[in-house]
């Protein structure tokens, strides 16, 4: 298993290159700049809820691996930009998270199902909560 994973790391195929390029294009960020200092992960208020830390997401994208697409992390991120102001390399990690979400959303995956929200709660929520949630996680 461990071997399989590491082999995947070093096999940098065309699909890896195109995935990384796609994320860079959508996010407008140069992923290569990251030197894995971890400042983004240490500042992230939601890291506790994540299966992949933000710095790890960036590392995997650097390697052209699309594992973050199936992570919880990209849906847990609240786009608070804490990581963005902390990154010493000037990477907007929040935009990378959005790029990854967008790839999934454009494949018609959506993380929130309206039917799953309690109707009582739906009525009491202010527009600002509902619209931002659905815009980030459904549209």
């Amino acid at each position: 298993m461990a071997l399989g994973v590491s082999r995947q790391y070093y096999k940098h195929g065309a699909e890896n290159i195109s995935f990384k390029a796609r994320v860079e294009e959508l996010s407008g960020q140069n992923i290569n700049l990251c030197y894995q200092c971890g400042a983004c992960s240490s500042g992230c208020p939601l890291s506790k809820e994540m299966d992949l830390l933000p710095s790890k997401v960036i590392r995997l994208v650097q390697l052209g691996r699309d594992d973050p697409l199936s992570s919880r992390t990209i849906w847990v991120c609240s786009t608070c930009f804490e990581c963005e102001v902390r990154c010493p390399r000037g990477i907007d990690i929040a935009s990378v998270m959005e790029a990854l979400r967008q790839i999934m959303l454009r494949r018609k995956y959506s993380d929130v199902k309206l039917e799953s929200i309690d109707p009582e709660k739906l009525r009491s929520l202010p527009q600002i909560a509902l619209i931002s949630n659905l815009r980030k996680l459904m549209a």
């Binding site: 930009f81 959005e98 929130v112 202010p126 527009q127 909560a129």
Partner: protein, 301 residues
């Protein structure tokens, strides 16, 4: 002569956060600023579309920016500044403005899909937040207008995310903001500093990940309570919902938490300015009135 400026309320200011709007309009007026509501405004989308190829989500905010130019040319406002109150509206409109002005290709595409509107992008519209405007007016002028100093009221300011971040967009230093502190002092109140004053409250995750928002909000509230703050003040209706409205739910998970009222900064201003009919405190939850009465900042009911 008061200064007339275009004002964008946004959806929540007309419903759950009416207390924010009422107090902001009255306080601004007392400072010589007349906020003129943008005609035919629409929802800004609440969040900025970060994907670089996005055009569609620019339409709503840009339509509002076009309205500012129209209002200006009708002579009803002085200049092309657009004043916002909600942090998310501020951020979304500001970023849309930048995104259109710096990207010619996006401008071209937008013109194609918004053919019924005059083109946008060349003009001088500037999106600002009311706090910026008050800072510009000057703390001295604020102090002079105070008729009921909030002496002895301990206030913990909570900035949230989108007034300070991302880089280049914040209305103050992202790492060490002081604009709220200056305002609180100008009103005669006492500042209670909390380490998490700019940490996310959980934002829109409150919709389907309630426990996560509760946990984040709890940490912020607890710091304020431990600092012996009487109230928290903030500038965003979503933060207000998470920190205020949801306190009952949060206490279900963390029974040790004491209730602490949450007020919009404009409500504090209106109180200190003696504009008691324009504070809208009856809409706040938890109810701050008993405490404010006890402290002598409100007449007995």
């Amino acid at each position: 002569m008061s200064l007339r400026l275009a004002y964008y309320p946004g959806c929540t200011l007309k419903t759950n956060a009416r207390n924010y709007e009422i107090s902001a309009l009255a306080s601004s007026k007392a400072l010589g600023i007349e906020l003129i509501e943008l005609p035919r405004w629409n929802c800004c989308g609440t969040v900025h579309a970060l994907a670089k190829d996005d055009v569609m989500h620019y339409i709503a905010p840009v339509r509002n920016l076009i309205r500012v130019e129209q209002l200006k040319s009708s002579g009803l406002v002085d200049g092309e500044r657009l004043v916002t109150l909600c942090e998310m509206c501020y951020n979304t409109l500001k970023r849309a403005d930048i995104g259109v002005k710096e990207d010619q290709e996006r401008r071209r595409k937008l013109r194609e899909v918004m053919e019924e509107e005059p083109p946008y992008g060349g003009g001088g519209v500037e999106v600002i937040h009311l706090l910026q405007l008050i800072r510009e007016v000057g703390w001295e002028r604020v102090k002079k207008r105070v008729v009921r100093p909030l002496k002895g009221l301990r206030v913990a300011p909570y900035y949230g995310c989108l007034l300070l971040r991302p880089r280049g967009l914040g209305i103050d230093d992202a790492n060490n903001p002081t604009i709220f502190e200056r305002l609180i002092e100008s009103l005669g109140a006492e500042v209670v500093g909390i380490p998490f004053k700019a940490k996310c409250c959980g934002s829109y995750q409150t919709v389907h990940m309630g426990h996560v928002a509760s946990e984040l909000s709890y940490r912020i509230l607890r710091q304020a309570v431990e600092g012996k703050a009487d109230v928290i003040t903030l500038a965003c209706p979503l933060c207000e919902y998470n920190l205020g409205e949801r306190q009952g739910e949060i206490r279900g998970l963390f029974p040790d938490l004491k209730y602490i009222p949450v007020l919009y900064f404009t409500q504090l201003i209106a109180l200190a300015f003696g504009l008691e009919d324009s504070v809208g405190l009856e809409m706040n939850n938890p109810d701050p009135r008993p405490l404010l009465r006890m402290k002598g900042f409100l007449r007995e009911a």
